[in-house]
């Protein structure tokens, strides 16, 4: 941010004469606007005492007519926001068809992910499905197997809620050591939307699910035809052992077949025309391009449940059905992608979430975990949804170790990386929800680090 940026929005009657007034004006701006203003404010402070004396230039846009309505029938972000895009890591997967991209969390405000920035995870690529020919079949242990058009599904009562979707591999590259010097790549396998659709419970009533049904699975109409087993009350694994009570009794109640996302139809990247949403759980359960739901009395133990989304443990065994995404949080400012610009007042900002309900509290440390201070949670705080937290910070310009730690409504406290490794080793790939540390350098740069003894 250059000095130029601050001269633009300040109109003649807002010109300030004393440092004090100037500072209070900037503080006010910080409160109402985003990161750009923070940076500008810092630039202003760096030259504290320097009063603006140059007469202000007339903005060139004051002297032209702009575009007419519907010149862009479906609106696009400003051309100055072209850097805010999904990104992938080429070496992570052998191709881009069975691959993943990351949401640019560093550039997003609030809790909602714009649809075009929702992270992508394909097991067989994104496909374009004609909704007029697409069908959903619901069958298995039911009184009457049924088939629905998209129009049929839209006649059912609507259920809508704000929920995050997160790949269980979020943070996977960091198990063995620091690797990605970017918030987008350490935590960008998560997005959050308002999802709108039909409650699974209503579909269950419509087909008359039998008591013997203890699992169901969804299946996609794409090349991966991805399928995942989801537990119902009474679910047991293939060894006859019951699944955890939360998994069997809570997860399915929130499930919907979604046809809309943030006010519009699902995007092809997110499963158009319909997908399952299994809130709070690893996102691969939320099968995209959904064509079939079957109620059954045992799990599939399919590819995704044996070879793929299973977590390797230090004893050489693998955990299965690690469905819930446990509480996690990350500071989104400052972060490696958004540097500091001079000492002074800042607001530390971040995101917290949990698959087990609501975020109860977030604590922030700037000294590597020696002391913590409770942050403010911004409304709204929804269940299984991203929650925004903030905490004012007066940066003295010295090295700092910034981190956040969430506690959820079950009392679960986000673990440290050392605790995770002690329990699970470094080979489990999935569900790395440990406390993230950013190191702030005196020059304002921010880097990804790990604290070995926290």
């Amino acid at each position: 941010m250059s000095e130029k940026n601050i001269t633009m929005p300040v109109s003649a009657d807002e010109q300030v004469n004393s440092n004090q007034t100037r500072r209070s004006f900037l503080r006010k701006s910080v409160a109402v606007a985003g990161g750009a203003v923070i940076a500008a404010a810092a630039a202003g402070r760096a030259s504290a005492g320097a009063q603006v004396t140059e007469p202000l230039a007339i903005p060139p846009t004051n002297k032209i007519l702009g575009r007419g309505v519907v010149s862009v029938p479906y609106g696009l972000p400003s051309k100055y926001e072209a850097h805010v895009v999904r990104r992938n890591v080429e070496w992570l997967t052998p191709d881009t068809i069975a691959s993943i991209s990351f949401t640019p969390l560093q550039d997003l405000e609030g809790i909602i992910t714009p649809n075009g920035l929702h992270f992508e995870r394909y097991h067989g690529g994104a496909v374009d499905i004609d909704p007029s020919t697409h069908r959903l079949v619901v069958h298995g242990l039911v009184d009457k197997p049924m088939i629905f058009t998209i129009e049929d599904l839209k006649r059912f009562p609507q259920k809508a809620a704000f929920w995050f979707l997160e790949c269980p591999a979020n943070g996977a590259m960091e198990w063995r050591g620091v690797q990605m010097d970017s918030l987008q790549f350490t935590h960008g396998m998560i997005s959050c939307s308002e999802w709108i659709g039909v409650s699974l419970l209503d579909l269950m009533k419509a087909v008359g699910v039998k008591k013997e049904a203890t699992w169901f699975y969804g299946e996609g109409a794409d090349g991966a035809a991805l399928q995942r087993s989801v537990p119902l009350p009474g679910a047991k694994d293939q060894f006859g052992k019951p699944l955890p009570e939360f998994d069997t009794n809570e997860i399915y109640k929130d499930v919907i077949v979604a046809y809309a996302q943030n006010g519009e139809a699902l995007r092809p990247e997110n499963g158009y025309p319909i997908r399952l949403i299994v809130p709070g759980c690893e996102a691969n359960l939320s099968v995209k391009y959904l064509r079939r739901i079957k109620f059954v009395d045992k799990p599939l133990v399919t590819y995704q449940e044996t070879r793929h989304y299973t977590d390797g443990m230090p004893d050489g065994r693998f955990r299965q059905y690690t469905l819930v995404n446990e509480a996690n949080s990350v500071v989104t400012f400052p972060c490696p992608d958004k540097k500091m610009s001079g000492k002074g007042s800042y607001e530390i900002r971040g995101l917290a979430w949990t698959g087990r309900g609501k975020v109860k509290a977030v604590d922030v440390s700037v000294d590597g975990g020696k002391t913590w201070k409770e942050a403010k949670l911004l409304d709204p705080v929804f269940s299984k949804c991203l929650t925004r937290f903030t905490l004012p910070w007066e940066w003295d310009g010295k090295e700092a170790l910034v981190m956040s730690r969430v506690t959820d409504e079950t009392g679960y406290v986000q673990p440290t990386l050392r605790q995770l490794r002690e329990q699970r080793g470094s080979n489990s790939i999935y569900h790395k929800n440990s406390i993230q540390t950013w190191k702030v350098l005196p020059n304002g740069e921010v880097h990804n680090v790990q604290i070995e003894n926290l």
């Binding site: 052998p94 068809i97 996977a172 299946e219 955890p244 509290a361």
Partner: protein, 227 residues
């Protein structure tokens, strides 16, 4: 239209009664969608459970699977199942080797194979018929899928006899080496405390060596995480 106040009121009452009756309340929504015969669903009902439920009729041999595998699978999974271009191995380290590596916290991610991380042969059939070959999913017939599954099990050293012909009963009877190497999620498995002051006795030991960042070359990194 109405001659008296009474008839208007009566009509209003009648309408109200009618409308309250027509709201469904908590009752199930009926009459939406069509019922469908299981036979009509059959072309979509391709899922196979771990115990072999759902396996179709048909068969295919190791010998019949070899040319299919070499033509359609080897370019990604290796001529001998050793993996290629970052795609998964068919023959990885054994379960015992995985246990030994894991105990030392050495890498077990890149060395997994069908022989060490796949619980049941019927679901291997399911996956091959459903999603393979990668560039042409659902292009193998039931018999071809049996033959390919049979060959993959052979190069993964699970089926030892190269004369084996695989069908539903053979796949059900084939015990995978890792069948009992799985267990259901025990989380929450870690209990952190919400300490606020004097939380660390020593100075933080900070590790840093990040290689990839936004604006840097995302392709310059090293090992690939296994997805």
């Amino acid at each position: 239209m109405f001659k008296s106040k009474i008839s208007k009121t009566a009509l209003a009452a009648g309408l109200m009664a009618f409308s309250s009756m027509s709201f469904a309340g908590d009752a199930a929504f009926n009459g939406i969608g069509k019922t469908i015969d299981e036979k009509a669903i059959a072309p979509w009902a391709i899922s196979v459970h771990f115990d072999g439920d759902g396996l179709p009729a048909g068969k295919g041999s190791v010998a019949q699977g070899e040319p299919i595998y070499q033509a359609k699978c080897a370019m990604c999974h290796g001529e001998f199942g050793e993996g290629a271009k970052g795609y998964p191995k068919m023959l990885g380290e054994t379960v015992e080797q995985i246990h030994a590596l894991a105990a030392k916290d050495e890498d077990t991610v890149g060395v997994r194979g069908i022989n060490s991380l796949w619980g049941h042969a019927p679901t291997l059939y399911d996956y091959i018929r459903r999603a393979m070959p990668f560039f042409a999913p659902q292009s193998l017939g039931n018999d071809e899928a049996y033959a390919t599954t049979c060959y993959v099990l052979y190069i993964a050293e699970i089926i030892k006899d190269d004369k084996t012909v695989c069908d539903a009963s053979v796949l059900k009877a084939t015990k995978m080496p890792s069948q009992d190497n799985f267990y259901t999620d025990p989380r929450p498995d870690i209990k952190n405390a919400r300490c606020m002051n004097d939380c660390m006795k020593e100075a933080p030991v900070v590790k840093e060596m990040a290689v990839v960042g936004v604006g840097k070359d995302a392709s310059s990194g090293k090992t690939a995480a296994d997805h």
